[in-house]
Symmetry: C2
Subunit: 348 residues, 2 copies
């Protein structure tokens, strides 16, 4: 080992879902949306002549569009390079206590990676036997709280009063609610940000807006919270949102009809698919997301995962305690789900 290696920040990085490079695969493993973004986004010819200039460091056009959309002020909105960037910045900004932060044990698998990387102490709080988060478990001294609602990879969502129960019991720390999947049937906690100055609500364009490739995430919260977040962001990188992401993000916000129709299609397919696989011996957790989390009464999840891959169907399997016998299946088009159902029928 070279001498310079002793002062390296050594980490075990997050492993994103496989991005197969082969053609003609059915990709149900990373919760992308099977439908294209709004045609307004798709048909936009970028004014590339502008590319020689730095983008607006405040991404004002996008921030203002989001503020208008949610009925908030621009001071309530923070934008970043996907919700991962937003959450990473939030961990850096808000979680600087010596007391452990809390998040569920079954949840988005990036939380412990961020905590490890940033040397933030944490405790993973067990969800119950039905994979539900219990609010009472979060009523103890802590350095901050984060949980997704709907939770991932379970898809289970809780009502606003559940979020309020946790936030109101923890007004001395920042509570982050990660609403990446909320548009697919969950209840948003945005209505609480006026009441609780310590609540941050995070969203993404990657799922319900079909724009994973453009990398836009955002957070909503009290002005003071957003100011602190922006101070850290400007100390890290002044210009994170590039010109295409600012321009195309605004176009997506402007097409509400397409957005609603897109979500409706995904939900309809999810409900049909869930009923179909339950007939085949699967049990699904109740999902308000664009995926289902399912276990079979006889076949091992890993076996199904491997067999599906041979047929070029990619779903997600987590080799983690408690959920090693579940598959997270992204909702694709009806046609894709039918092919997957045929495959499952042949397997069981």
């Amino acid at each position: 080992m070279s001498a310079w290696e002793k002062n390296i920040r050594k980490v075990v990085p997050y492993v994103p879902g496989e991005q197969p490079k082969e053609e003609n695969v059915i990709k149900l493993n990373t919760n992308e949306n099977p439908y294209e973004p709004s045609p307004r986004v798709k048909n936009k010819q970028l004014e590339l002549g502008k590319l020689r200039l730095y983008p607006d460091p405040c991404a004002s056009k996008l921030v203002e569009a989001l503020a208008g959309y949610h009925g908030l002020k621009k001071e309530n909105i923070f934008v970043g390079v996907g919700s991962d960037d937003v959450i990473a910045m939030s961990f850096m900004t808000f979680f600087n206590s010596d007391v452990k932060i809390l998040f569920p044990d079954v949840t988005y698998s990036f939380y412990d990676v961020w905590a490890d990387m940033l040397k933030i102490p944490y405790r993973a709080v067990a969800v119950d036997d039905n994979f539900r988060i219990s609010a009472d478990d979060y009523k103890c001294p802590n350095g901050g709280i984060i949980f997704p609602n709907p939770n991932a990879p379970t898809g289970i969502s809780e009502p606003v009063r559940f979020v309020e129960d946790i936030v109101s019991a923890n007004q001395d720390v920042v509570v982050i609610v990660d609403e990446a999947y909320v548009d697919f049937g969950g209840e948003s906690a945005v209505s609480l940000i006026d009441k609780y100055d310590n609540l941050l609500v995070v969203r993404t364009f990657s799922k319900s807006r079909s724009m994973a490739g453009i990398r836009i995430g955002y957070a909503m919260g009290n002005e003071k919270l957003i100011q602190y977040l922006n101070d850290v962001k400007y100390s890290f990188n002044s210009y994170t949102m590039n010109t295409p992401s600012i321009e195309l993000g605004v176009l997506s916000i402007e097409d509400e009809d397409y957005f609603r129709a897109n979500i409706k299609r995904v939900i309809a397919t999810r409900e049909r698919f869930r009923k179909e696989i339950e007939k085949l011996g699967f049990t699904c957790l109740p999902s308000n997301a664009n995926f289902v989390f399912a276990t079979h009464d006889r076949l091992k999840a890993e076996y199904i995962f491997e067999e599906a891959k041979k047929k070029k169907i990619y779903v997600r399997h987590f080799n983690r305690p408690r959920i090693e016998n579940y598959l997270r299946i992204t909702i694709g088009t009806d046609e894709q789900m039918d092919i997957f159902l045929e495959f499952l029928k042949s397997l069981v």
Copy 2:
């Protein structure tokens, strides 16, 4: 103050150069390139249908294009959202010693911001009376070194043997050479990365490639160094480079003729402009960048800065010790520089 505020990371953020929103300004304040990117980039119609999918987390197409361009392997290349992102990640990855890191006192004003934000101890080493970095000042115990070559905001560049002198004397720490401006006449240290496994060379598409709006920076170094950097990056955000930046970045690399011609134009204008303002009583430091750093023998820099702004001409003034009487003037088109010269003539 709310209780949750006590565990906030409180920082004094970097202040980027003004981005005036009014029309018809002459913008010579943020070292953007006055010419558009290669027409191959400009005329590209993005395949926006792909936007629903996550980008390739490894940005392989872009990494491979850069590796080919520099005659390196893809394992020697790290890409990020502008060189600011690359350097921020590098500070996080490499500068974890209790011993102070070193950088010049007159240099890119983001270095101390990153160090403060990440709680990295540092010492700013004074450049000499001619604003030159002295290699001997960096031959003492330290936790890492970073300097730009050419330096900013001076524009002064040093030869490769100067860089090697510093790197070879500091093989126990990581040395970062920030080559944001090297294409405008500097000598690159890339040739040294095979010899020294602790050397990281950073570049950007924002200056010589006229693509500040697309946010691409990259680093070149030993495989091990790049691996450590990628581990931290993947622990922060798996998908930082969005689809447009990967696609358009490759197109820029492919158009070497345009790239060379673009640089040549900027250098020609710089040399002409320098001679002209010297006739007006300015002294310019010898610049190998796309800007000049100039002081007038009679008029205060701040006065010129304010008067120019009234005429909608933006240059950069740093209210910092040693350089408060200098202006950093980005090289624009010949026409823009002529208007600025006319203004200066009327002022002196």
